[in-house]
Subunit: 240 residues, 2 copies
């Protein structure tokens, strides 16, 4: 029924998709561009997985946000699950790269921790899907692919800084790994729960840039207070 008309419709849709919706990336794309296509698929997939997790994600909206047919997903990435793994791997590479940038070896534990915390906030803020995909991985996928993310590296670095602070006596006695978990909780919850938090009157503005900066200051102060040794009566706990 109406084959010619269908073709015209399709043409117009394509125009709409590549101009009005403006999904197709800035990298030159006259018509075909496999690298750009793959990137767009990963971008759209990351957003979908961040919202719904592996099980809840649908491939059709991913394709729709990409301006390319659903079959392209399978052409380049195989199954939905393999696409998911590709998203995790790309996130891991990007994150690993960001962590590598910072050198903390000749900073005091306190300064080093502050640097880490700043990176953590900025990363959550600029890469809003990273943490959400990971949380879904834990909640809906039993952490099956968590190892693909290489997170043991940054957590280990953080724990080492904490341990150094304890050893040097500027941090209170604490379990460095558990404390890293507490810190990750502080650094991620605000972003992951924002859609709930914004419905609490005092936090209704929590997604504005100013509110986020305000949160960042508050969170960093909270964590520092949580690990620094309370001054006053001197603890003679040099060694444990």
């Amino acid at each position: 029924m109406g084959r010619r008309i269908l073709e015209v419709d399709t043409c117009m849709e394509l125009v709409v998709k590549s101009s009005a919706r403006g999904r197709r990336s800035s990298t030159a794309r006259t018509a075909r561009n496999p690298e750009a296509t793959k990137t767009q698929i990963l971008d759209a997939a990351e957003e979908e997985f961040a919202r719904y997790g592996l099980a809840g994600a649908r491939t059709e909206p991913i394709a729709a946000n990409t301006g390319v047919t659903k079959a392209m997903i399978h052409y380049y990435f195989g199954t939905k699950e393999e696409l998911y793994q590709a998203v995790l791997k790309r996130q891991a590479a990007l994150f690993h790269n960001a962590v590598e940038q910072i050198d903390v070896s000749d900073l005091s534990p306190e300064a080093a921790l502050k640097k880490f915390l700043r990176l953590a906030v900025d990363y959550e803020n600029t890469q809003p899907y990273h943490g959400k995909v990971l949380l879904h991985e834990a909640m809906t996928n039993e952490g099956k692919y968590f190892k693909l993310t290489g997170w043991e590296v940054p957590i280990g670095l953080g724990a080492a800084v904490l341990q150094r602070g304890v050893d040097e006596g500027c941090f209170r006695p604490l379990d460095p790994w558990l404390t890293m978990v507490h810190i990750m909780g502080v650094m991620s919850f605000y972003f992951n729960a924002a859609n709930n938090l914004k419905q609490l009157e005092p936090l209704s503005d929590c997604q504005s840039p100013e509110a986020i900066e305000n949160y960042a200051d508050s969170a960093i102060a909270f964590v520092l207070a949580g690990v620094l040794k309370h001054s006053g009566p001197s603890h003679s706990m040099a060694l444990e």
Copy 2:
């Protein structure tokens, strides 16, 4: 075909389910029991929604875990989305009840906060689906039904305790609502991310009761350190 045999099968399944799997509740259930059926549906639905969120959840596994037909879900609760709302409402009622039990009005801010933190850990531990459903609500459902949970009450109570601590000078200057968010992050992340965390060598045992008790102590100490005033006159370290 084999009506009698089918009846026998069904019977046996019921027996298996009510003893071995122990789903059918303790309230007497010879054959029909609408209240027990509704409870079982809510139980199974809560588990499914906690894992997959509203969008990702399937009604068939809910029915399968219930020992009752999928049609019963619609008979008692309507659509999947209405069932989801019913789960949220039941969680809210249970949680509200738990929060009501504690009276904090004649405790010091520090003691009051400790009491809240203990309740928070215990609740996450004994009601493992509560926090996960809420997080999914934020991440996959844009917090559409968050208000059904009545969480502004306990958060407001906590913020009031923090404000009292600031006013009385035992807590450092802090934003009580943001600090409540930090605290919620600390109190929930360990449980929500456990499936990831357990794959980190030092946390491989993180789900055992001893590990959870250990985490609880560490988390409470971290939060108290995070809010208490660092300098000043001698602390009455009643803790520990």
